[in-house]
Structures are given as structure tokens and as C-alpha cells.
């Protein structure tokens, strides 16, 4: 048996350990403050520069050579349209691929290679996706510098994020739930439809929003496919007053997007355009924050009833 430590020595030891504990807390708080302060500074800087431009007309006017008349109408509509295409393409493809890899694919060399490649794709620089899209969508398929090209390009960009998030969410479902469903006679599709999809939905949603938040700020691939920063018209509305009421012409429309508009304005020397850029950047940050807020709310709603 070891000899017990004298009480005085034990207390000194505990005091030393406690000091280390406190030190780490201080370090953590400092790191957090630094990160937060950086964001706040950036945000305040944009706010100070751009606040005066954030009037209703800013959202309803097209770009202009006169800084005080310039607005972001084409840009925010373009971004919204591109995001819709991106989400409509990336979510079904990514979720289906994730479900296939987790629930159906055999565990072998081929799936291992696919798995590694998907993780690698998430790290490929976005300009590479732009070049791929320029060669494939714009030139080979002749889709032009359009909303659909941009949507498809950004969908490719975020596909790995959606796939990885889907797989993580599916893997978090315990095997006991799976076995319970199978033991009652469920087929694989019934398991996916009734259990895997609903239970992994909060995680999938998180991945989708992380992906879209990344896509919304991407500039390089959109510039590469040939989007222009000066556009004085809107894409045709998807809903028409005459039969057949729905129109998909907007997909083929040229467009601009928020990051391109911001980039265009920051490259102008006049201070007034810099203010426009700050204001547009604020709007872009706000769009991202709103998307994240929706995701958090949805996740909270869906997760409320999930536990195992």
C-alpha cells in the first residue's frame, strides 16, 4: 500500500492544479474575444461606411455609373435565383448519394476510394470548379453565362459538403433503431423513408445551410463562367400571367450576384462606390445570417422529438 499524502501537501497540490485550470479558462476567453472582436470590427466598419446607403431604393435600383443612384436589385435577385438552383440540384443529389453510400453501397475498395475522393473534393479550390464549369456547362453544353450555369457550378461546389453532412447524420442513428425496423419486416427503402431520412433531417439541413452559406459568397467560380457585374434588367419572372403560367426562361438569363457586385464596386476608386460595396456586403452578411437562423430554428423544431 502506498503511504497516504499529508493533507497540507495535498491542498498545495490542489491549489496548483486549480491555478492551471483558471489559466486555461482565461486563455480560452481571450481567444474567443479575439475572434469575436475581429468580426465585430469588420461588421462595424461596414456598417459605418455603408449605413447611409441602406435605403429602400438601394434594393430596388439597378447598378449605375452614378454611385448615389446605384442599387443591388439585379444582384440580390440574381443571388436568390442562383441559390434556388443550387439548392434544388445539390440537396437531392447530395442526400441521395449520402444515403446510397451509407445504406446501400457494399463496403469495399471502390466505395473506400469514392469516400476519400468526396472528402478531397470538399477541399478543391473553388476556381477549379469555375474552370470545370466554363469548359463543361458553358462551352460543351452551351448553357451560357446564365443562372442555371452558376447554380449547377455552385451545386457541384457544395455537393461534397451535403454528402458528408448526410452521411454523418445517418451514422448518428443507432444500429438498434435500424434493427428494430428490420425485425418488424421493413425493407431497406421503408427503413430509409420512415426512419433514416426523418431522423437525419436536422443534420442534413445543417449541412445544406453550411453549403449554401459557402456558395452565396463564392465569387471566383461565378466570375470564371463569365457573369457580368453590370446588368440593368431582371431575369423573366418564373410565374407568368398567361398559360402555362410557369416559365423557366429565367434559368437561361444572364445575371449578376452579390459578391460580383461587391467586387465590382470595390475596384472603383470613388469613395461613394466603396460605400455602396460596404452596404452590399452588409446585405450579403444579413442574407447569410438569416439563412443560418432559419436552419437553427428548423433544426431545433425537428430535433425536439429526437432522442434515443
Amino acid at each position: 500500500m502506498a503511504v497516504a499524502m499529508p493533507a497540507a501537501q495535498m491542498r498545495a497540490l490542489i491549489a496548483r492544479q486549480r491555478r492551471k485550470d483558471l489559466l486555461f479558462v482565461l486563455l480560452g476567453v481571450a481567444a474567443l474575444c479575439l475572434a469575436f472582436a475581429t468580426f465585430i470590427t469588420l461588421f462595424l466598419d461596414m456598417l459605418i461606411d455603408g449605413w447611409s446607403r441602406l435605403r429602400p431604393e438601394f434594393f430596388t435600383q439597378f447598378a449605375s455609373r452614378k454611385a448615389e443612384q446605384a442599387g443591388i436589385l439585379a444582384a440580390w435577385v440574381g443571388t436568390l435565383a442562383v441559390m434556388v438552383v443550387t439548392a434544388l440540384v445539390a440537396v437531392p443529389l447530395g442526400v441521395a448519394a449520402g444515403i446510397y453510400l451509407e445504406e446501400y453501397a457494399a463496403r469495399n475498395k471502390l466505395t473506400a476510394i469514392i469516400e476519400i475522393n468526396i472528402n478531397n473534393l470538399a477541399g478543391v479550390p473553388s476556381i477549379v470548379y469555375g474552370l470545370l464549369a466554363l469548359g463543361m456547362f458553358v462551352h460543351t453544353f452551351g448553357l451560357g453565362a446564365s443562372i442555371r450555369t452558376a447554380g449547377l457550378t455552385l451545386a457541384l461546389l457544395i455537393l461534397p459538403i451535403v454528402i458528408v453532412a448526410t452521411r454523418e447524420a445517418i451514422r448518428a442513428i443507432p444500429g438498434s433503431i435500424r434493427e428494430a425496423a428490420y425485425a418488424l419486416g421493413a425493407t431497406r427503402w421503408q427503413l430509409v423513408r420512415h426512419h433514416v431520412l426523418p431522423y437525419s433531417m436536422p443534420g442534413i439541413l445543417t449541412g445544406v445551410i453550411i453549403g449554401l452559406s459557402r456558395a452565396i459568397g463564392e465569387t471566383a467560380p461565378i466570375i470564371t463562367i463569365g457573369a457580368v457585374s453590370f446588368i440593368a434588367f431582371l431575369p423573366p419572372a418564373p410565374v407568368q400571367p398567361e398559360f402555362p403560367w410557369l416559365s423557366f426562361e429565367w434559368l437561361a438569363s444572364p445575371f449578376t450576384a452579390m459578391p460580383i457586385q461587391i467586387f465590382g464596386w470595390t475596384s472603383r476608386p470613388e469613395a461613394a462606390f466603396q460605400a455602396n460595396a460596404s452596404a452590399a456586403a452588409l446585405v450579403l452578411v444579413a442574407m447569410t445570417l438569416v439563412m443560418n437562423a432559419i436552419a437553427i430554428w428548423l433544426r431545433y423544431r425537428l430535433r425536439r422529438n429526437l432522442s434515443w
Binding site: A106, P174, S176, I177, E179, A180, Y182, A183, A186, S307
Partner: protein
Amino acid sequence: MVAKPPRPDISTLAKKAEARELSFHYGTKQALKRISVPVYDRRVTALIGPSGCGKSTFLRCFNRMHDLYPGNRYEGEIRFQPDDIDLLGADIDPIEVRMRLAMVFQKPNPFPKSIFENVAYGLRIRGENRRSALIDAVEEALVAAALWNEVKDRLDEMAMNLSGGQQQRLCIARALASQPEMLLFDEPTSALDPIATASIEELIHQLKDKVTILIVTHNMQQAARVSDFTAYMYLGDLIEYGWTDDVFFRPKHKQTEDYITGRFG
């Protein structure tokens, strides 16, 4: 111990299922060695033996749970009555097997859905979506699982809000709702407290008039209390099988006696 009715002549009993020369391999590891054992209709058969003896592996052959994981291989057959099919046969869809033989697991595993939807799930996947039919079946199953009185006013609440013992009875109700021909219990009380355990054992007693039961248990007293027949397994071999009273009080093998009296295992 519950008083048992006089034993009938074993040759007059109908077999619900019978394993014949059943071997099972996890990859290259053989987990069951040519097991032959009957399961009598509307009787409780208990599988006992030390950890790793293959009793759960054996149980999971009956509803083809091993098919869910790659690298598993069966040999031999399990004849199943009344239509004399081989549960392991290549011509039998494992989905059919699982629809006819329900399973209750070691840890309660309700779905993260409402109490009602948990019990109704087996019927839903069989294509039953009429609300009235589901309501009747859910009530009947919950009554049979001795849970109805506790949950009848909160069928729309999440199953996770129930206690462990209630969750396990819910899983039994879920298994019963689709009227299985045979119930497989895989150590159903090992995660429960003594009171919940007693209620599950009582339930097994009541159920055996209606359905054939095969139960794996770690608890020797439980096997003695609930079962009519007992099979003792060791390292993938069936060592002894017979009427529970015989296995417990007049074991033919020294090893069985040692295990039952706690000298080993």
C-alpha cells in the same frame, strides 16, 4: 416458483420450429456448431449458457438478422411450421421471415416516434393505413403487453418519455401488433430493474398461450421461472436440451450442472 401444469407426453406436442444441423459463421469464425433443437408450439423455450456461447447468435438466425451484415454464413436449416418452410432457405425472403417471427431486443429500442406510431409501425409496413384498424390493433397489442392502462391517455406522446420497463413492454406490444407466429426475446430484461423484470416475466407467462416463445437469458432463475424447455449451450455447441425441470434438477451433463449451480460461467 410458479406452479407448472403436469407435463404432457413430449411426442404429443407440435413443433413450431426445428433447427437441424444448424451451423453459423461470422466470416471465418464458426459461432454455432451443428445445432439441432426443436421449438414446441406455444411453449417457452429458454436458451442459456455463458457469454459467447452463441445463444444470441442462434436466436438471431430465426429472423435472419445476420443477413443484415456482410460476411455471415448459415449452414443447415430451420424448419418452420405449419407450412414446413426452411427459414434459412434461399427461396424464402428474409422480409417474410421477419414478418412472421417478431423480435424483442436486449435494450428497449423504441423509435423516436409517438407511442401509437411505435405500435402501429408493423402494420403500417404491411400496408395497413386505415385509422380505425390501426387504433383497434394498437389497443389490442398494448393490452396484451400490459401497458394499455398506463398509456391509454397519452398515445401521442413520444415513446422516449416512458420508463425503461414501459419502453420494453412497448417494444413487446410493437412486436405483437402484427400477430407474429413466434416471438424471439434476446435477454429482454437485462437492462431493467427487478420490478420491471417481474412484469415482463409475467407477460411472457400470459403470452405463451397465444404464441411460441424463444428466449435468451443470462438469468438462470428467469429461465427456470418462465420456460417449459431449456437448451444449454457452450462455445457454439448445444450441450443439453430438455424439459426445464429436468435440465435444472436432473441435468444429464456435469457441465450443465456446474453452470446452473454457479460453479462456472
